[in-house]
Assembly symmetry: C2
Homo-oligomer: 321 residues x 2
Amino acid sequence: MSDRPQKVFIVEEGPREGFQFERGPILTEDKIRLIDALSTTGLRQIQTVSFVPAKNVPGMADAEQVVAGFERVPGVEYTALWLNETGLRRAVSTGKLDIHGHISLCLSGEFLRRNQNRTITENYEKQREILRTYRDMGIRVRMGALMAAFGCNFAGDIDPKNVVEMIGDLLRLSQEANVTLDYITLADTMAWATPSSIRRVVGAVRSRYPDLQLCLHLHDTRGMALANAWAGLELGIDRFDAAVAGLGGCPFAEHKGAAGNICTEDLVFLCEEAGIETGVDLEKLVEAALLAEEIVGHPLPGSIKTGGSLNPYRARSGMNS
Amino acid sequence: MSDRPQKVFIVEEGPREGFQFERGPILTEDKIRLIDALSTTGLRQIQTVSFVPAKNVPGMADAEQVVAGFERVPGVEYTALWLNETGLRRAVSTGKLDIHGHISLCLSGEFLRRNQNRTITENYEKQREILRTYRDMGIRVRMGALMAAFGCNFAGDIDPKNVVEMIGDLLRLSQEANVTLDYITLADTMAWATPSSIRRVVGAVRSRYPDLQLCLHLHDTRGMALANAWAGLELGIDRFDAAVAGLGGCPFAEHKGAAGNICTEDLVFLCEEAGIETGVDLEKLVEAALLAEEIVGHPLPGSIKTGGSLNPYRARSGMNS
């Protein structure tokens, strides 16, 4: 039996993932061109940039100019990432972005220490702080995220019980702040997920919180992203983060093994072929993927942009018959 | 519910797929090195070469020398491909290969015409002929294959009912010849399969022939190969063709869109992480994949050879804890 959803919501993270990761430099106008191309595909949320210190992420030094440059299309949400209040205030200052708050916990203490230089306990306090900031600034909090939900290069395998417990922590933190989360993102931060661990973790979460909407944030470092998405779809997951052309990393460049997010157009193909509605025009999305490849100047990992969808063949065989 | 098998049998087709596809020239001694490396991985069947006219497939002109050169390891079957009696006799003449007969039908008349210049009716007669040849030469017939079982660039979508019917034809042909097929391979010749069509087709076949062993021959042109394999595993499929490093095509070379077979080491990773035994030493297989990449001289598509398996991280985190 399958709980496959009738439709899915895909958050396009390619611009942010790609521009902060690619060696570049990528011209500001090219970043704007890609966002504008994505705006015409039917995608309903595009994460455009991140507001982080330019000294850490030089590719995001022009975040404000990128946001100023793209054209908002009605029906599309344009979001951004920030890691602290300074970044959040920069995002708000653009006056052009859809600002939604989020909180985030991490299953691996060691990863948290290396990545954000804080302990798990300190991180809870940080989330309380940011929840206060959101309240003070009148920003609605929409999402809670769990990093390293499927495994960690430092902590190893993650017990699904711990994922369930930490979802409880996210819900308690939001209750304390009088906030209702719309959904929780399970992030496969270091690409440990496989279809069987998707089943274990999502299954455990579902047993405890049957009505909670879940989102999967998948990386393709080990080639499992689409198989993982399928396993998620079979369990009724109807929300995914994805990156056009698989932006965010390239196994064939010097970034050894650091592949990007699941490729948006490949995910759209997977869903549409299963009769799951995405709202996305696949051919237009493939054009955007080819543009992304042209902009970064090297091959990107997605398959449908080279392999092609089945629709042109279907049209031809229909005419033949 | 899942019918996932406890173990799977993987037929390694990388040497044949790769050497007939790569532009080369690839040295005979390199072909031999790769086969010898694969022999140490725990794989139990390696398809080594194809016996086809050198004018059609220059990369296989040295098939006899390759077969003469590799070292047979006990417990491993070394097979080859042929398309007619001339090829079969060449394979037998080596005196070193495991010779098993197979018959093959195709769901698409148009593909058959373009690929083998015969009609579906002529093809039935050809299979009867080759069955007589096998009988005359004392060769046991083991496998029946269905090409284009999931769709065709010329015929479009394939109705699962037609797959079920054509399996009936394969079984009738073999009965006529007093032959019992061990299994039937459903070949996704033009990479039309998706997890949902795997479910439809395999489901339809299972309903009619619940005890028939099935093998999946998957291509990764549209990035679906591992998701398709997972869908197959969930339905109890326990036999797969695969190619080390995804040999057989490279989406990043000039062979636009013609990706190879499902990548063996990625498939092994998928299975082992789900507790499905493959008998393969993943780290040794990754070494063979890296050798394949070195031999062809350009990046090959598999992910685990760059992303790495999880075992080293597990060992490290275990030591840390």
